[in-house]
Amino acid sequence: MTLLEFQIAGFLGRFHPLVVHLPIGFLLLAGIAEIIARKRAINLDQGISLMLLSGAVASVVAVVLGWLLAADGGYDESTLFWHRWAGVAVAVVSVAAWLAKSGKLTLASNTYKASLWGMVVLIAVTGHLGGNLTHGPNYLLEYAPEPVAQILGGSQKQHIVLADDPDSVRVYQHIIAPLLEAKCLECHNDAKVKGDLNLASPEAMLAGGDNGDVIVAGNSHDSEIFKRITLRPDSKKFMPPGGKTPLSYNEVKLIEWWLDSGADFENSVIDTGVDPEMKFVLAQLYGLDTDPKSYVERAFVEATEPENLSSLVDAGFYAQPIAANNNFIEVKKKRTTDIDKSSLKLMDKVKQQVTWLHVGGASLTDQDLTFLEGMGNLTRLHLENNPITEEGLKVIEGLPYLESLNLYGTDVTGGVLETLQSLPSLKKVYLWQSKVSPEEATQIQEALPDVDVDIGVNLSS
């Protein structure tokens, strides 16, 4: 084929989708007329004959144009094979039906009936396959109600609901892949691979297309996919082509962000790194909150039994889950209620759950503090106004998540530094009215530059 022939073929081929609807209409109308004629016992032979002739001619033309279009390439081979030959069959059968109806050819008595109804079925099959070629196999049932889709066995569309936790949202799986599906996969899927490019899976994407690699990890501007979606929209190479909805600014930013961060197929949003602009994009498009979360908001524990809480309440404590969506609990000795020290043992059953613990002003001594052992999820610990020293505090050494430790009004001295140094998450420590001298407090502050060491207002007492 010369280039000119190729161009003419391509030009004419594009008329296939236009012409193809004519035989569908003519031939189906012939079928309807035939039913009516039989039911009402009236003679419509001449009309039906004309419909069949028009349909036969139109289907032959459609077959020719379709053949030319297929030369363009880029369609799923097996679907194309069946569509092509089913289309040819429609043309052949419709010609046969016309010949039989018009009496140009005398055929066996049942031939006409068989060819007419066979033709109707073939049209349906051919049309459906053609639709799949153009719009992709998921097009028809994309918005079908769930029961309908299930009965018809269509692929169910995955509704993207991003989890609240940006740690569990994967950039490729939850953000990039659905984006490609919406904007690119119509032409670059397993069935239809325009430009020999399939974007439906990581493997296919890495394999590239006619123009070589489509993604360059870590460099969006060298990646073909990024170049194509950011060209001038009137460029021949702009994607998606032909007036289809282009990617929005935010969607382009998402692709760029993913490519620049290494085009990883597994990483979560947090792994990928969120700068202020992407934070805004993710919040706007998905309502995804990428703000850093505190330990109690990130971590999960099993809920404790309600009776464990009520036994604490009966002993005079305030004891409640910290929020409706959180199983961690807060336990607090109320200021005005004295508690029996033996009731501290009740906390053994909630050691994993308790994260905010207030036992200030409970006359606790160093020996009493053993109940704190094993409370690995403590983030806030109030021990103020108890006659305790750093000896008793050894029991909390190494607590991994403790952020705030209140020791005001206790007997701790500068020696508490060792315990404080063993607390990796510590942010605040309160030492007002303790035995820590101002000099020791300065030393503690110097040893722990990231911790807020509060020794209170220095007024003569």
Binding site: D291, V296, A324, K332, R380, H382, K428, G456, V457
Partner: protein, 484 residues
Amino acid sequence: MDLEKHIHQINNHLNRRTFLQNGLFSLGGLALSTMTAAPNLSSLLRAEETELPHFSPKAKRIIYLFQSGAPSQMELFDYKPKLKSMFGQELPSSVRQGQRVTGMTADQRSFPLAMGDFSFDQYGQSGAWLSNLLPYHREIVDDICIVKSMYTEAINHDPAITFFQTGSQQAGRPSIGSWISYGLGSENANLPSFVVLLSRSKWNGGQPLYAKLWGNGFLPSEHQGVMFRSGHDPVLYLANPPGMDRQSRRRMLDYLADLNQSQYHQTQDDDIQSRIAQYEMAYRMQVAVPETLDISDEPDYVFDMYGEDARIPGTFAYNCLLARKLAENDVRFIQLYHQGWDMHGGLPRLIKELTKDTDQASSALVKDLKQRGLLDDTLIVWGGEFGRGCYSQGKLTPDNYGRDHHPRCFTIWMAGAGVKKGITYGATDDFSYNITKNPVHVHDLQATILHLMGIDHLRFTKKYQGRRFRLTDVHGEVVKDILT
């Protein structure tokens, strides 16, 4: 009269209204009420949606230092050197842009820019600007978040303060303290979860404050704010009258509660449960209130911090000290008001008095909560109902001027749980007339306060008269930029 007989009598006294109200349902209702035991009180009186707080709260309690009358932002926080260099010149029309001014100055022919002899400097690591009127604020400047871009829609005191407290300029909606009490309940059964403390400047009469500002609106009535008065009788009619001892009171309340329960079984009227809860609360408060409000044990250094005024009941400093004590006792919402900031004339003189009333104690409260570790989970808010205009109201002289109301921008500050410290948020133009950056509406502030308490303001509703009401009505965005 024995109990059975008494109950029988009440049964016969079901009035016409109750009968009509319950007529259709009375048969079913009666059957139901005899089948079920008295409902759990606390579950009945809490929010419809018991799934609260929605998420992990940053703040467990709030102290709101309301500066009633509207402090001038320009003399305190919002440093505008242009007002001094352009003293006496007209407010440029390019700034006002034809915007409406408030009623008291609308007739003025001239709008001369005004600023008294106050100096500003930057303080703390954050370098925030503070006026020399606020020397004690220098000590907390790195602990607070100054919001210079607050704005409101109301231009008069009563609608504006009602808007701040209830989310609506018209009276009748529940106060923010009532909403929070209703949503989160109390952690201290001996004190109300919403306490109100009033103080006023002795130099400048205050705008009146009505009880509707801490009213419960359509929420159960035990969520209304309880005002603690200064003086020997902080809660009126709380103490037993002479001749009534505590045992007698207990017996009387038990008998009354039985009667009320019977009535409740008859009518299923939730107000009765509210009433029982309030009687019991009052009984416990008879002991708890005098204990909590007793400051005789406070050491001298506390009064050095808060100022000598803190020894005098009814001053702002005294109320700040009480606020700390109430916070220590887990009162959920502590609402202070200090009256006297409304300065239409004589501002340079009056503002010195008002800052003297409030500067030291406000700062002391932040420092005191901080050293006790309470600022970790207590939110403090300081601010008025709107701002003041940059031009003089009335005659401008070198040392005297007044300022009219200005809703388009004003300054508040927040401190404590979940709020970034040592930052200034938002900005205004050179005349503190319009906001130029990050505006924060009253509903945004309300949404943010609820957010800090672990409540999603969009989901926190109460159905009343066929509609679900929210504190923020249909508005409000959480100001995430100022959250830690």
